[in-house]
Symmetry: C2
Subunit: 496 residues, 2 copies
């Protein structure tokens, strides 16, 4: 029998950490969906205490020694990968002094609050000071983590969301896409015919909810292990055995909620497909944010905005609103509505073609901010310049420009690129799945997602964090991330 | 400036413990109301880990020394009481070895599972073995805590639910009531006229829910600090700033859910009225289970089954079901329905007059079990004998007899008496409130609970755990618990 005393002790510790993280996840979900406003202060205390306990456990005096000792023990590949992920978590937690973590946390709270006011008043100057402080502390964190992880400062921030992510790699991918998009967009707009008349509302919330639940089941969501609720900002929360996805309803527009539900269902199916044997260990987690986003976008953009899916869905949708057989509810109309390209100022309202431009802009700016090459005061001008270059638009004010997203004001630098990396990864995975499983597209046209889900379970979900993102993608599709597949997808869908 | 270093350290520790307890409370609420079945195993792990962390923090190596050191510091009365409650919590947590806690926890799980089967099959013999093991371990715990708290073994169990509760005191009260009830019951039954015809259903769930919310607001529930949901077993959970009460709906009977909602609202108003300044300290908690039950029963039984309340409520209720002006919905009919006395086998279905008999029976038996004077195998015979003596009924089988309640099978010995202590305390507090606030009853007849709530806030809720239960009652009503008030209430209501 091999001795794995140190490793085994770490598994016990990380299982406990996982239970605390899951409790935190449920408390966050409740806060966004169920909690009355008056519960906010107590909830903040609960969350802060659980996070502090988590941090104390993760950075306890024995952990470093156990991690080193376990390196010398006989581990199988999953255990070895688990140890690697344990160390990564420990490095992120232990590298930064508690004082700095607290300072940044307080600066983010202040900045976020001021941002709400600044956005409402479309006045960037209001929040420039607080954001400067967030940036200053974030750069300090980046410098410290850069030492601990032996990577560049921006890459150290990236690593929090996208383990192993490197700006040098992302630069090549996003520059390529950034060079392609403006010309492609002009071509799409030149050829685009006027918008067809789609279904007209109102679309009752009850009908929308029933439709959402029906479609979640179609995609493979297990209601024994999750539920659908309402929150202001849709998300997928909970735990792999108890997935809580949310949406919001607009009675004038059912498609936004439906596509949102399909998107969050993609996230949920990923979590649900993580290997149960590694449920409470770091290696059993989802790989990173770009792969996570790839799973939601694979469902929403690749599978469900396709002609195949909409040919199945159109009569189901019409039935849900008692509109069976009425004009404007047919599959071709719904498809035309869904592939409409319309450049705008707001990222979260963007279509599939223009969305990457919003991300590229933010990625370029945040890299420059972290490098010290861009000052906070110069953000509005830089933003508007990039918008003009990438989308040919100039925001009329900062509310519709650099004040629209919460991310930076809440200290999330290094997150933005994962949206578009996810979109490209989704295209590449879907293409590989459709190539490997010939009946996949015809099954989707019949509302049968089992062939697709089965391929994803084997090639993505079940792999959890065994491999790095690039390795996983190469193993699943035969090559690392390749913009050609995403560009081909866009051409096929938007320039047929 | 006084030095309170030890005491101050303890406040920091107990605030953290409170945050963990609150997180546990929310996770329990979610489990009962929202969680899909497939989340049970993960939830059990989350709860177990948070409970273990709580136990480790509470019994940490410094705590005993800090408690002793704080005794010598200059404390005001609230701080002094807080220190007393800290020590009580610490004693309960540290007295019993972890091994025994675990054994008992496992024995309870096994016994509870077997009990579900035994109850379904009305076969006590099935669960006699597992219950014997639970009892054996509970007696071991009682013996250990008896030493630690310097009280009798049964009193040590009582103390878990009713701090400072003593069987010698409860004996006198419940024996007095037990001697009174059989004769009183016969008298009530002799005089009782046939039941009037009440409202007939079905009573749609939506209407019941709207009515429940309306009546919660009438009693003073703040929806900024709580919500109403559905669970199989109604309860009041959450935290003082975020109270989660639950009910269940039967479309054939709206009164059961309505009275349940009023009952749980009483619990919630107690929690909400606890002093905010002591929110996360032991002294800031509700005093004990009998006082908690007194607050629910004061609302349900004293205030809301009164002629005054029902004269206000009858038209509101009729309106809720679209039955305004229809026969059988008037206040007198609703009152007659609500004061119907009908002895039965099942405690939770019992009316106000016969309920104490169910409790007295259980109290006598569980004392004998803990003392070793009654063996598990002899429970069914002893149960049936007491039922005959107290209510003149003999259960046709053990499902309707000694298998009906989960408490003992889940290890809860010492809990039962708090139900009837609560009922008597409710009568005494309501009597004192009505004496002190002349307009209290007429206000209730107008749906105005502010005079009552204001008296309760000052005399009960705001006192939290500053005093012992008896002291609090004496301060609020001028005397300790006195069966005469409860008996007078029963006579006034049931033998008018």
């Amino acid at each position: 029998m091999q001795c794995r005393a140190a490793y085994d002790s770490l598994e016990v510790l990380f299982a406990r950490l996982s239970h605390v993280e899951q409790a935190l996840g449920m408390l966050h979900w409740d806060m966004a969906t169920m909690m009355p406003a008056g519960g906010a202060a107590s909830r903040a205390e609960q969350l802060a205490t659980l996070k502090a306990l988590h941090h104390e456990m993760l950075t306890g005096p024995d952990v470093h020694g156990l991690l080193d000792a376990a390196e010398g023990e006989a581990l199988d590949p999953w255990q070895r990968a688990n140890l690697r992920e344990m160390r990564r978590q420990w490095l992120h937690a232990s590298a930064v002094p508690a004082r700095l973590v607290e300072q940044l946390s307080r600066a983010c709270s202040a900045s976020e609050m001021t941002w709400r006011k600044a956005r409402a008043e479309a006045d960037f100057a209001l929040v420039a000071g607080p954001l400067t402080e967030v940036l200053r502390l974030t750069r300090e964190v980046a410098a410290i983590k850069s030492q601990a992880l032996a990577v560049a400062p921006y890459d150290a921030l990236l690593d929090q969301y996208e383990p192993g992510g490197r700006a040098a790699v992302i630069d090549a991918v996003l520059d390529d896409l950034g060079a392609f998009l403006p010309g492609f967009l002009r071509e799409v707009q030149d050829r685009q015919v006027p918008a067809p008349e789609g279904p007209s509302g109102p679309f009752p919330t009850d009908c929308q909810k029933a439709l959402g639940l029906r479609m979640m089941a179609t995609l493979g969501f297990e209601f024994e292990h999750g539920r659908l609720d309402v929150s202001q900002h849709p998300f997928c929360g909970g735990t792999p055995d108890d997935l809580r996805i949310t949406t919001r309803y607009d009675e004038r527009d059912f498609m936004a909620s439906l596509m949102g539900v399909l998107h969050e269902t993609g996230h949920a199916l990923y979590e649900r497909g993580l290997p149960a044997a590694w449920r409470h260990q770091p290696v059993g987690r989802a790989r990173g944010m770009s792969l996570h986003e790839s799973q939601s976008l694979l469902m929403e953009m690749q599978a469900c905005r396709s002609r195949e899916f909409l040919s199945f869905a159109a009569p189901v949708i019409a039935e849900a609103f008692g509109a069976t057989g009425q004009p404007h509810w047919d599959a071709e109309t719904l498809y035309a509505v869904n592939v409409r390209v319309d450049p705008g100022f707001i990222r979260i309202d963007a279509d599939e073609v223009t969305y990457p431009a919003h991300v590229i802009l933010r990625y370029r700016l945040e890299k420059a901010l972290i490098a010290g090459d861009l000052q906070v005061a110069d953000i509005p001008a830089a933003w508007n310049e990039q918008m003009g270059e990438l989308l040919g638009l100039v925001p009329p004010n900062d509310r519709q420009g650099c004040l629209q997203d919460i991310h930076w004001f809440d200290g999330a630098f290094g997150y933005f690129p994962t949206y578009t990396l996810g979109a490209m990864t989704a295209a590449q995975l879907f293409d590989a799945a459709a190539g490997a499983v010939p009946e996949l597209r015809t099954a989707i046209a019949e509302g049968d997602f089992r062939p697709l889900l089965s391929w994803l379970r084997a090639n993505v979900h079940g792999q959890a964090s065994l491999l790095g993102t690039d390795e996983l993608l190469t193993q699943a599709t035969g090559r690392p991330l390749d913009t050609a597949v995403f560009k081909a997808h866009l051409r096929q869908r938007y320039l047929p």
